[in-house]
Symmetry: C2
Subunit: 338 residues, 2 copies
DNA sequence: TCTCCTGATGTAATCGATTACATTATAAAA
DNA sequence: TTTTATAATGTAATCGATTACATCAGGAGA
């Protein structure tokens, strides 16, 4: 069997209390004793049991992440790997573990399990909406949690988000600068707060440039490729060729590009297209896609940092990270100035 | 505070042992007592502490997954999300949790932590190579583990893999059927066993068709887009236009496609290209990419199933899941028969 | 030398469950 | 009714750490 603290105590000729003090860097241990204990510990390759420590300390040193595998979610948040990478780094720095699960249905059941069984000290909540039952549960049990993405209603909880409004603003400003005026906007589902924020950015850029809003230029999508394709097809079918289209996801933008090309309209020459997210495919399509890149890895890192801060009783504040416009081939082509 | 088993026992007027029996569906509890205890449990919303149970049972009911973020890995295994989804489903069916981490360096340190601290009951090992120190550690501590992908050397441990050889075989057979003879193969790093397997499939298809192997047609890549691009460029620069190229990853295939198009060679018409993996971008590029699809989600599911089986003392066997050739536009074009 | 203080160490309770063993209640058999 | 088998329940040890409190040793100061 793997050694326990008792074995170490026995072999070092001290009590378990002393071993524990050595393990936790307590100051009240004589150098001689400490050395003796450390020697035995090294010899036996002893590492204290995480479970026992958790039980005694009434803390699991773990944070929970449950990813809903709803379509909305996957496409509004394609960078799961990067997010997790950042989250993992942040957790590891503070010696926390991540308990991970994906779930389609019964998500509340899984939440109940994580929370009431005391499997985690805090939760990462993704894809949150108004009146979310997960938030209600966590609040009622006073379990720390951090929301990924900005909640739309009251802001009485901590979140990490990217500057969606500014990102959209920059994208549209870029299109305006190229001389475009008929700039369509294919947004995400309107119930998501990212959608509201991006719309704000779109409107702000137009207003600032003194371009009147044409509501016929606003479309609601769902982040899926097919939807981008369909919306552009419809536009073209009714003879309504835009100067530019700003899509709220790269995936939709790629669908839209296909529709343009099928109609013999060359993206990056006859029309400009901008996406959002900077997914790997944005670089692989031809022409490569101008898009708004989000620091997803940093989002993950900050979520971990804030959440663990909350767990440890610090006073933390929500964070909004900057987005960046990445100009590629889908917009550098000549502009069709009216 | 959240209620403990003692609170339930007190309120129900029984001992903690009886409450525990109710919780664990022990047969020796009278219906009357059971009902009384369950009533209190429901009233207080009591759920037993996972930590306490783990300590007593000397089992954490968790499996560990550490994903190395090395470039090789990411590109040879782009479907992390899907894999995790399957793994998660498998784990949840057996009421296990997944402890997840990503790691660049110090991966052994993290392994030591997971294993010696007894954070997990078993490990999922990805991206394994010959004489892997992780495998050595797990073996020496007798901690159950399952390897994702087939080890190349001795098979004295359990793995879940896809039929890489058969996948490559089908892909090349498809190209041969189209009439291609000069079929180049851009493989992955030769130290990976997937690469060896795919090479085998390539060779087998050629042999079966009576096509002699030209070793100049074999190239070593690294799964990255740029490498695919470079290799094709070099080929074309020395005036060596292939009939078809089979890439060991979609990402390389997409790079290769770019190189062809830049040289005015139309993929799907003048040359055929086949990839491997079926990443989302395979559908988004133009022409869409013919590729070998792997059931990544099932791989994850089976890994969980086997690993938990091992932990619970069952006698489990390695699994190889079938791949599927997905024919798209990059190969349906007319073949350049010699 | 004696007292007092401080630093080092030990004792034992504790976290919240499970479980071997002991005990008691209940029903069947004699 | 008494004996005996069995079902139901309780007692207390246990998993492996942490920690409040007790104790002890040794040095400073009187």
């Amino acid at each position: 069997m793997r050694p326990s603290i008792k074995d170490i105590a026995r072999l070092a000729g001290v009590s378990t209390a002393t071993v524990s003090r050595v393990l936790n860097d307590s100051p009240n241990v004589s150098p001689r004793t400490r050395e003796k204990v450390l020697q035995i510990i090294r010899k036996l390759n002893y590492v204290p049991s995480h479970t026992a420590r958790s039980l005694r300390r009434e803390r699991t040193f773990s944070i929970g992440l449950i990813v809903p595998h709803s379509a909305d979610y996957i496409f509004s948040f394609p960078y799961l790997n990067l997010f997790i990478k950042g989250l993992s780094r942040g957790a590891r720095e503070k010696k926390y573990h991540i308990i991970f699960s994906t779930e389609d249905e019964n998500i509340m059941e899984l939440y109940e399990e994580f929370v009431r069984k005391r499997v985690v000290d805090g939760m990462v909540v993704v894809d949150v909406s108004d009146g979310d039952p997960r938030v209600a549960l966590l609040s009622s049990l006073k379990l720390p949690f951090v929301v990924v993405g900005r909640p739309s209603g009251v802001n009485d909880y901590i979140y990490v988000d990217t500057a969606n409004e500014e990102g959209a603003y920059e994208a549209v400003k870029h299109l305006l600068k190229l001389g475009h005026r008929k700039i369509h906007f294919v947004n995400g589902p309107s119930h998501l707060s990212v959608s509201r924020q991006r719309l704000k950015g779109y409107l702000k850029a137009l207003e600032e440039a003194g371009v009147a809003l044409d509501t016929r230029f606003l479309h609601q999508g769902d982040f899926m490729e097919e939807t981008g394709y369909t919306i552009v097809k419809e536009l073209l079918n009714r003879g309504d060729k835009p100067d530019a289209v700003f899509f709220a996801s790269d995936t939709m933008a790629i669908g839209g590009m296909k529709a343009f090309e099928e109609s013999g309209i060359q993206v990056g020459v006859d029309v400009s297209v901008v996406g959002f997210d900077d997914v790997p495919a944005a670089l692989m399509v031809k022409p490569s896609l101008t898009t708004v890149s989000q620091p997803i890895c940093d989002v993950g890192y900050n979520v971990a940092r804030l959440l663990i801060g909350m767990i440890e009783g610090e006073d933390v504040k929500s964070v909004v990270l900057p987005t960046k416009l990445v100009v590629r081939e889908s917009t550098v082509g000549g502009a069709t100035v009216e």
